[in-house]
């Protein structure tokens, strides 16, 4: 809990409190206080715990998945046979051990709905989600930083008010509604952008796979037209997703900048005649960047969740949509696979963050 300033004097207490709130998930691993091995072990433990809880909850509380296969009116005999085939006839502890054994071998079972191995199904949908989430994160974070800086240096001005209005709007408007209204405006009315038909317009075939990201792959193959088509499909879902990343970052950067702009070292820098833009982005921004990093890492989780909503609106064939279908139809193996995927991403992101922290922040490095 090293990042919680418990007994600090009043002046920095509120700032410290804010930092503590932002930095909380970082603190949970104990910054640099344990060896990498111990951290990895605890990360694996957390993942196993989460996956086990999902397993338990989905077996104990949900509707009987056998119904998915044989229907409600099937005879007891048929039902038992299906149960046997699905491996649901074993006692719960046996099922659990089998599940853990499979997990250790990278076998997540087969989807009840598609009948294919869950890991293959997830992997085939992963690039779609990565393409969406990656661009949204890049756009949202860079846009948020620039907007936050501009708002801070224009404090009280029109630009500040505009950024404030956009951020409050983006934080308060439901994401799925933004997506829908963007579609209405740009697809139905103005007809500038394509409708919700997934990653490519209907009837077009994707480029040969290199990275799995259509725009990148198409460019690598020199298919400029295809790349533009794929990019146009991306515009609306990416903006929808990016707005939710943009807003918290812009707010955070603004408040951190306002604080640092009033400090003495900025006045000194100004007196030394350093160019204004350099003062803003290189000097005044720096102290706030740590908390931006923390928030950005948290926003990865938000993008993962948001992808479920956005993918369902834009018919985007990614993991989010796949998971939603699974959730709605009690497709346990897929739900478990999805939970595993999300928690692994989460743990990895926090581990990276911790490493970056230790590189940037001299106080953390010294510990």
């Amino acid at each position: 809990m090293s990042s919680f300033p418990n007994s600090q004097p009043t002046a920095s207490a509120s700032g410290g409190r804010r930092m503590a709130r932002l930095a909380r998930p970082v603190a949970q691993f104990g910054l640099n206080s344990r060896s990498v091995l111990a951290k990895t072990a605890s990360a694996v433990l957390v993942i196993v715990l989460i996956v086990s809880l999902t397993f338990l909850a989905s077996r104990v509380f949900t509707a009987d998945p056998v119904n998915l296969f044989v229907g409600n009116s099937a005879s007891t005999e048929t039902r038992e046979k299906a149960r046997e085939e699905l491996g649901l006839a074993d006692p719960l502890p046996v099922q659990y051990l089998k599940f853990l054994g499979g997990l250790a071998r990278g076998d997540l079972g087969r989807s009840y709905l598609t009948g294919r191995p869950v890991s293959a199904d997830l992997m085939s949908r992963l690039p779609a989600t990565i393409e969406l989430g990656l661009y949204a994160l890049i756009l949202g974070i860079s846009g948020g930083i620039v907007a936050g800086v501009l708002a801070a240096v224009n404090r009280g001005g029109i630009l500040d008010a505009a950024v404030r209005a956009v951020t409050i709007g983006a934080l308060s408007l439901p994401q799925f509604w933004i997506g829908l209204m963007l579609l209405w405006l740009f697809f139905v009315n103005l007809q500038w952008l394509p409708g919700p038909s997934g990653r490519l317009p209907i009837g077009m075939s994707p480029p040969d796979r290199i990275t799995g990201l259509y725009v990148v792959d198409a460019l690598l193959h020199g298919q400029t037209d295809l790349a533009i088509r794929a990019l146009r499909q991306l515009v609306l879902p990416v903006i929808t997703l990016a707005l939710g990343v943009f807003a918290p970052i812009a707010r955070l950067v603004r408040s951190a900048m306002v604080e640092s702009l009033e400090s003495d070292y900025i006045r000194t820098a100004r007196a030394m005649g350093i160019p204004t833009a350099r003062i803003w982005f290189a000097y005044a921004l720096k102290p706030g960047l740590l908390s931006v990093l923390t928030i950005a890492a948290g926003l990865v989780g938000w993008v993962l969740a948001g992808s479920v909503l956005v993918e369902s609106i834009f018919a985007w064939p990614g993991i989010g949509q796949f998971a939603l279908t699974a959730i709605k139809s009690s497709d346990y193996p897929v739900i478990q696979g999805f939970v595993l995927y999300v928690s692994v991403v989460y743990v990895v992101i926090w581990a990276i963050l911790e490493y970056v922290y230790s590189r940037i922040d001299p106080r953390v490095r010294a510990q």
């Binding site: 600090q8 404090r155 139905v188 969740a305 959730i327």
Partner: protein
């Protein structure tokens, strides 16, 4: 910018004026929505669940200011009815996590020891998964129902509440006013709940209002995905979801107005939170 640097006092004043404005406007907006929700329990222009009170997919008009949906139901009436559900659930969720979080965090911060340790480990586990996804998973497993939704959505932000209160109590329990209360013979729990807790609520209250806007959006998202509240019931999120196809054929009003409801509710809480949190950092003791 020059002005901001040269006259910090003047900009502090502007900031103060802005946060007062923000707080007032947020409260008025919230009261208006609560009023709408309460009012809708007695009267709506048309019965919210009645089909065919107007034609199918009528655009907004004087008779139907928000238009009608695919069953010919009046969207204004349904949106008003939904305000009861959405505002009610949001308030219930926030109240629940505020109360439980405050008590839990107080006890953990005050007594420390194994209880505190256990608390932190539980919170870490809750934090190691994105909240909205967790809500979706748990509710899909637990099945639909308003009470279940309230309970699940209230549990998710608990870690933040507990942490905020815990830190406050931990740092304040050694302050003189706590010592004074002990010296006049207050028992530990009395010191905690009569002296320490009331003096530690401010940050958690400002967090609660920011959290409330997350709750409003989450309730809407669950309704949109058809998880939680009975599908087809008058709830902003599920109304938006039902209008999805209509919007894509140009009938924007079907989803637009319910979304406006969620926006106003979330924005009200944001404005209140902004007002409270700025007041905390700029003025006052902290």
């Amino acid at each position: 910018m020059r002005a901001a640097v040269a006259h910090p006092r003047r900009s502090a004043k502007t900031a103060a004026r802005r946060r007062v404005w923000s707080l007032r406007f947020g409260i008025v907006l919230l009261l208006a929505l609560v009023g709408t929700g309460l009012f809708a329990m007695v009267w709506t222009p048309y019965p919210p669940d009645a089909m065919g009170v107007g034609g199918i997919y009528q655009p907004p008009s004087l008779a139907h200011p928000f238009g009608t949906d695919r069953l010919g139901a009046d969207i204004l009436s349904r949106s008003m009815d939904a305000a009861t559900t959405d505002v009610g659930i949001t308030v219930a969720v926030v109240a629940l996590s505020l109360i439980v979080g405050s008590i839990w965090g107080s006890l953990a911060g005050f007594f420390g020891g194994w209880f505190d340790y256990l608390t932190m480990r539980v919170l870490e586990l809750l934090n190691s998964f994105p909240s909205l996804l967790l809500a979706m998973l748990v509710i899909s497993i637990a099945g639909p129902g308003v009470l279940k939704v309230i309970f699940v959505v209230a549990v998710l932000p608990l870690p933040d509440y507990v942490r905020l209160i815990r830190i406050e109590i931990r740092s304040k329990k050694t302050w003189q006013f706590a010592d004074a209360a002990r010296m006049v013979g207050r028992r530990p729990l009395g010191v905690l709940f009569a002296h320490l807790l009331p003096n530690s609520l401010r940050p958690v209250l400002s967090y609660a209002s920011v959290n409330a806007s997350w709750v409003a959006a989450t309730i809407g998202a669950l309704g949109f995905l058809g998880l939680g509240i009975e599908p087809g019931s008058a709830e902003w999120g599920s109304m938006i979801s039902r209008g999805q196809d209509a919007v894509l054929s140009g009938k924007w009003w079907v989803s637009f107005f319910p979304g406006l409801g969620i926006f106003l509710l979330a924005a009200a809480f944001h404005l209140i939170g902004d007002g409270l949190s700025d007041a905390r950092t700029k003025g006052g003791r902290a």
